[in-house]
């Protein structure tokens, strides 16, 4: 008990510190701040514009009404914002750290590696534009749908949002671990994997052939990034237990990713890093 309290205290202490560091970085000069905020705004717009316009033009997409599509987009952008907030600074783009030999910096810190990865990327200020937009869209979507806005439902929403984040991160770590074995070739593989998830997550996948859908819920789990949990939360599949499918999937994906990453770490400790680039290590 005492150990877990101490662990929680260390976690919060680090989050507070990295949050402050992030805010300092954001406001280091006005030009940088404006440029960053503008580029984040464009990123969000690019992620949702197509689907938003399609649902506006056709008053929804397939079985999804327009507010439900807005909810879906809000869910996707919020999950994205949560990851940006908690795992910024190339923690989510782990292939960059591995491929550039920067894990040495993590290993030199006197704390368990998960604690470093859980705290070092905490960037609430930098992630705020995306998270804020996501929450606004989510509120807009909830307002337009017949979602049962009870405390339990909001708790399930939070659980599913967290689970989606875990699935996306697990995919990133599983794919990014390739950089342990091919540092140069796979250094940017997480850029591609993130782009893949970002492009696919905003589509309602209803009506997609089972084989393809199976692939989108396993090999490239974009279906769990927004579509499946939203469908469950909005009651579109008429099967109540479906609200816990994404959390269960998150546990499974996390275990697989953990196994791959640990295998990669063992390889890293055996071979070391054959290259080192300082780029992106410290902002």
């Amino acid at each position: 008990m005492a150990a877990s309290v101490a662990g929680a205290h260390r976690l919060v202490r680090r989050w507070l510190f990295f949050g402050r560091l992030d805010a300092l970085w954001m406001i280091r000069d006005l030009g940088s701040f404006a440029g960053y905020a503008f580029s984040e705004g464009l990123k969000v717009l690019a992620a949702i514009a197509t689907m938003l316009l399609l649902s506006e033009r056709f008053d929804g997409v397939g079985p999804w009404t327009q507010p439900q599509v807005v909810f879906l987009l809000g869910f996707a952008v919020t999950a994205n914002g949560m990851i940006d907030d908690l795992f910024g600074y190339n923690v989510a783009y782990i292939s960059r750290r591995i491929g550039r030999g920067q894990l040495d910096h993590v290993l030199m810190q006197p704390q368990p590696m998960p604690l470093t990865l859980l705290t070092e990327g905490f960037s609430p200020a930098a992630g705020l534009p995306v998270l804020g937009t996501g929450l606004l869209l989510l509120a807009w979507g909830i307002g337009g749908t017949a979602a049962p806005a009870s405390p339990l439902w909001f708790a399930l929403l939070a659980l599913n949002l967290g689970a989606s984040c875990v699935v996306i991160l697990a995919f990133a770590y599983a794919v990014g671990s390739l950089a342990f074995w091919a540092p140069r070739a796979a250094e940017e593989i997480n850029s591609s994997s993130w782009s893949l998830i970002t492009q696919l997550r905003a589509f309602p996948l209803d009506g997609v052939r089972p084989a393809l859908l199976g692939g989108l819920l396993s090999v490239v789990p974009a279906g769990f990034a927004a579509w499946y949990p939203c469908r469950a939360l909005l009651g579109l599949d008429h099967w109540r237990p479906s609200v816990v499918v994404t959390p269960l999937a998150a546990v499974a994906f996390a275990l697989v990713a953990l196994w791959i990453f640990r295998t990669g770490m063992a390889h890293y400790l055996d071979t070391g890093s054959q290259r080192y680039l300082s780029y992106g290590h410290r902002r």
Binding site: R14, L107, M108, P110, D270, T271
Partner: protein, 372 residues
């Protein structure tokens, strides 16, 4: 150079091997295609049964040519690599298995890497260290004051590292590494790229730390003059084996009894001296290199006086850099000869136990290793 050492070993490497796998590439298309499915792997030994102990309070210079295994050793000691065979113990810890507790008691500085936040003031990186290392506030305040004064950080403590010179940045990095009061400092090429003044500052700080706080230091560098200023003991590694372990004076005596003799004769023609090699001649000044253990200065002067009118004589030891360059050159020549006999990349059994005699420079007979 005196260092403050006690007898208890703080760093202990026993029979340490580190072997890397290297995939062999074919120059032909079909060869490459075949290696996709049946790769040819070469095992390269970066370290071959290294035995090394460092006592508390020692400053040890760790030197060797490129690819000799210096950085590999530092990484093994810092817990960034696991040995293939053998035992690494630092302060009694297994650096890899007990990483978290271990790294809280060491400091590591790699010359070409920084732990500083690039766009934030140096002060923010110090705060980062305090939080992540869980340094108690009292110790943090005390050590921050100490390193700010020792390394003269005040002028740029509130400046972002991207606006600092390399020397200032290195001082800040060194200060950061010392903030939690480590017992051992590992420095890998800490003065790479620094100008003379910046180097002198860094070296002087490290010496002060050793003298005042009994800090144990393992430092690698290519700059022998710098290492000699800093360390009492030098360990030279060659092709993964320790080839010399002793003090600089012994290195000079045993590896290089070679001295420089300069004669001024007034004549353009240099006297021919048996036992000395003419290395330069300009304006009546003739420079020779000779082995003082084989021929005496008096004998050389007798020969010179018999051939020309000697106006002035000057003799001195070779600079340490030249001594080491001579050793590396001999190793390299020997490696070239040896490569005809030794299959490239073949991992050989440790020769160290049977061949190494502490304090003697040995000439290896294998190939140049990769792995750094």
């Amino acid at each position: 150079m005196a260092t403050v050492a006690s007898a208890a070993p703080l760093i202990s490497l026993v029979g340490v091997w580190k072997t890397y796998r290297q995939r062999q590439r074919s120059e032909s298309f079909f060869g490459q295609l075949r290696s996709l499915f049946r790769p040819e792997i070469k095992h390269v030994a970066a370290l071959r049964g290294v035995d090394l102990t460092v006592a508390r309070g020692e400053i040890v210079a760790y030197a060797g040519p490129n690819g000799a295994g210096k950085s590999t050793t530092v990484k093994l000691c810092a817990g960034l690599l696991a040995p293939t065979r053998g035992t690494v113990r630092v302060m009694g810890f297994d650096p890899v298995k007990e990483r978290v507790r271990f790294v809280s008691r060491i400091g590591v500085v790699f010359g070409q890497r920084t732990e500083l936040y690039w766009d934030l003031p140096v002060a923010s990186s110090f705060e980062w260290k305090r939080v992540v290392w869980d340094v108690p506030r009292e110790r943090y305040e005390r050590m921050r004051g100490f390193v700010r004064e020792l390394l003269a950080l005040d002028d740029f403590f509130h400046t972002a590292p991207r606006e600092l010179s390399l020397g200032q940045r290195m001082r800040a990095d060194l200060g950061l590494a010392l903030l939690h009061e480590p017992e051992i400092l590992f420095l890998d090429e800490p003065t790479l790229g620094l100008d003379v003044l910046a180097k002198r500052n860094i070296l002087s700080c490290i010496k002060d730390l050793n003298r005042e706080r009994h800090l144990t230091v393992l430092v690698t560098s290519h700059d022998m003059a710098e290492l000699e200023q800093l360390a009492g003991r030098i360990v030279m590694i060659h092709r993964g084996s320790i080839a010399f372990d002793g003090d600089f004076g012994r290195l000079r005596r045993e590896a290089a009894a070679r001295r420089v003799l300069t004669l001024e004769t007034g004549g353009a023609t240099a006297p021919s001296l048996n036992g000395a090699e003419l290395v330069g001649s300009e304006g009546g000044r003739h420079e020779y290199v000779f082995d003082a253990s084989r021929v005496t200065i008096a004998a050389l002067l007798d020969q010179a006086a018999a051939q020309a009118r000697v106006l002035d004589v000057e003799t001195h030891q070779l600079p340490i850099d030249d001594v080491i360059a001579g050793i590396y050159e001999r190793w390299l020549n020997d490696a070239t000869r040896g490569s005809e006999d030794v299959a490239a990349g073949e991992v050989r059994p440790p020769r160290q136990q049977e061949a190494r005699v502490a304090g003697q420079v040995q000439v290896g007979d294998g190939h140049q290793q990769d792995g750094e």
